[in-house]
């Protein structure tokens, strides 16, 4: 039982770290990389 709890804790920690890394990547691209794009309307 404690093994399952430890496993779950590990999954949550990994998920939080992955989410943070991707989030920071998106924010950095948003600030420093967005300008050379044309207006694009695929989703609009």
């Amino acid at each position: 039982m404690s093994g399952a709890r430890n496993g779950l804790r590990r999954v949550v920690i990994v998920a939080v770290v992955v989410a943070l890394v991707v989030l920071v990547g998106i924010v950095v691209l948003d600030h420093f990389g967005a300008q050379p794009q044309p207006f694009q309307y695929l989703l609009h």
Binding site: V11, V14, A15, L23, P36
Partner: protein
């Protein structure tokens, strides 16, 4: 270890992986919603705008804003009138002395990210009313994503009954894009994560050379073999024909591409070519790019990630147009 417990172990591992992926997506969705609320993003805001304001129509414009709608995009209130235009209600009849102009354009004309009252259309109303002593009313029909074909359809189908004295058209470099079939935004457009991932994947593809840069993308629109070019050319000629039939002086304003304003920039020949096309079709052509010559592009953008002109950019455009156009052009007794 028995076969049953091995299966249980595999299932537990897969469940943990699935749970982890869902958790990452949920955390990112929450994080990006918070981020997008603090720092508006062009893709997110444009997607919200499309979902909230646009509705399909069978006319040539393909879509119109919902009538009498309200929204808030890029921190700016947007209200539409009964025609779906981002404007005050326009009476069917003109008031005594009124000079009424139809204004054709896209998101720049719509005033994306600019409060009502600070767009070039309202600024020109003020300038020309003061200069002539007659009330000028500019009917701003700008819709985000319209191209020149849709603008011609707007003129022919939705401004047919308007008692106009003239026509103003604001061209931007993406106006030769082919007219897309309108479709409702897909379900995943509700997700900030999906919109951000799509936008950033596109950005990385362009950076990696796997997709055209914005310069190549825009320049290619004006190649003789480009899919949108024949319709664009015919739309400009058609606008000239319609303006002539209705006796409307037509001013065609060439807006600069807002990433940069160098005199030897990459779009100079495109501006020249479009100017010749519009002039041959009967337009009085006004080129605004010299007015931006000394301007730092970063100071006239609505946001770091969105090059639509802000209120300062609109003021520069209004000043340039007012300097180039004698408003007596529009007054009936002077024609």
């Amino acid at each position: 270890m028995s076969g049953g417990s091995r299966l249980r172990g595999t299932l537990a591992g897969l469940s943990a992986m699935l749970f982890g992926l869902v958790l990452v997506a949920v955390l990112l969705e929450i994080g990006l919603r918070v981020y997008a609320a603090i720092e508006p993003n062009v893709d997110v805001e444009f997607t919200r705008y499309a979902r909230a304001m646009k509705a399909h129509t069978d006319s040539g414009v393909r879509f119109l804003h919902e009538a009498n709608a309200h929204g808030r995009f890029f921190g700016v209130d947007v209200d539409t009138n009964s025609h779906g235009f981002r404007d005050v209600e326009i009476p069917a009849e003109k008031s005594p002395g009124e000079v009424r102009l139809g204004v054709l354009g896209d998101s720049v004309t719509f005033g994306w990210g600019v409060p009502y009252g600070q767009r070039f259309t309202e600024l020109l109303e003020e300038k020309w009313s003061a200069a002539t002593g007659r009330p000028f009313v500019l009917v701003n029909t700008g819709h985000g994503n319209y191209n020149s074909v849709q603008e011609l359809a707007m003129l022919r189908e939705h401004l047919a009954g308007q008692p106009l004295d003239g026509l103003l058209q604001f061209w931007y470099i993406n106006d030769a894009e082919p007219t897309p079939e309108y479709r409702s935004p897909p379900w995943f457009a509700r997700s900030r994560l999906a919109v951000f991932l799509w936008g950033k994947a596109d950005l990385l593809r362009r950076r990696a050379g796997a997709a055209a840069t914005f310069v190549d993308y825009y320049r290619d629109l004006y190649d003789e073999t480009a899919p949108g070019w024949p319709a664009f050319r015919d739309a400009i000629r058609g606008t000239g024909d319609t303006a002539r039939e209705r006796g409307l002086p037509w001013v065609f304003v060439i807006l600069p591409e807002f990433h940069g304003f160098a005199a030897d920039g990459p779009f100079r020949d495109v501006y020249d070519r479009v100017a010749r096309l519009a002039a041959d079709a009967g337009a009085i052509v006004v080129r605004v790019e010299p007015a931006f010559g000394d301007v730092d592009p970063a100071t006239i953008r609505v946001a770091t990630n969105d090059v639509h002109p802000n209120a300062r950019g609109h003021a520069i455009i209004a000043r340039a147009v007012a300097e180039a156009v004698d408003p007596r052009l529009w007054t009936e007794d002077e024609r």
